[in-house]
Symmetry: C2
Subunit: 123 residues, 2 copies
């Protein structure tokens, strides 16, 4: 049974993957991966209103993917690479489990072979 502790741990991943499930938010993360940018520069290439862009930024910040800082009248955003790494780690762990399973399956199939031939060739 999955308990409350595991749920709390996974709350971050819920927010992270939810934040990445939108093309405008991914576009913002793509831009910020190349360096910090003011909000206006993040919003400009997107065919959405500035208030909508700000709302998407809010989702990215709530997920810990982006931080922002206001200096004078300009709010500048930057990526939080640790958050992306967390999402990457989860996916990576699944791939490793899956690859390990394939390895075990390969080992098992090898035990079923009738002869201990190294290269399997016959002449």
């Amino acid at each position: 049974m999955i308990d409350k502790h595991m749920l709390n741990q996974s709350a971050d991943l819920n927010l992270l993957f939810h934040a990445l499930a939108d093309p405008w938010r991914r576009a913002m993360v793509e831009r910020l991966s190349r360096g910090p940018a003011p909000v206006s520069e993040l919003a400009r290439p997107l065919p959405i209103s500035l208030p909508a862009a700000l709302q998407h930024l809010g989702v990215l910040q709530a997920a810990g993917l982006v931080r922002s800082k206001k200096v004078g009248r300009v709010r500048t955003c930057a990526i939080e690479p640790q958050a992306l790494s967390e999402a990457e780690r989860w996916i990576n762990a699944r791939r490793i489990e899956w690859e390990n399973r394939l390895d075990r399956l390969g080992d098992y199939l090898q035990t079923l072979e009738p002869e201990g031939d190294d290269d399997g060739t016959r002449d």
Copy 2:
């Protein structure tokens, strides 16, 4: 400006990340990474109804993360590792961009150093 072609490309990522943004769906993917399982075994550890579990499975299948096959009265599910790899690739590409940026920043800072010392030590 982001065009329609890019949007079509990103439709898969929308479905993928949305599918991963739920703890029960991630629990199913975690289980299936260790090997195929019948629906009943996937649903059993989760504190949700069987119909709810089937709905979550539907989301995973729509995102291409899971495939299922009915043999007799048992429906067995298996992971589709290519879909997970697609999500991994997107995140990975962001990390590489971010690391490249740090490298460029490091190179630039080095050009600002007053002396051409290789190791920066003084005695």
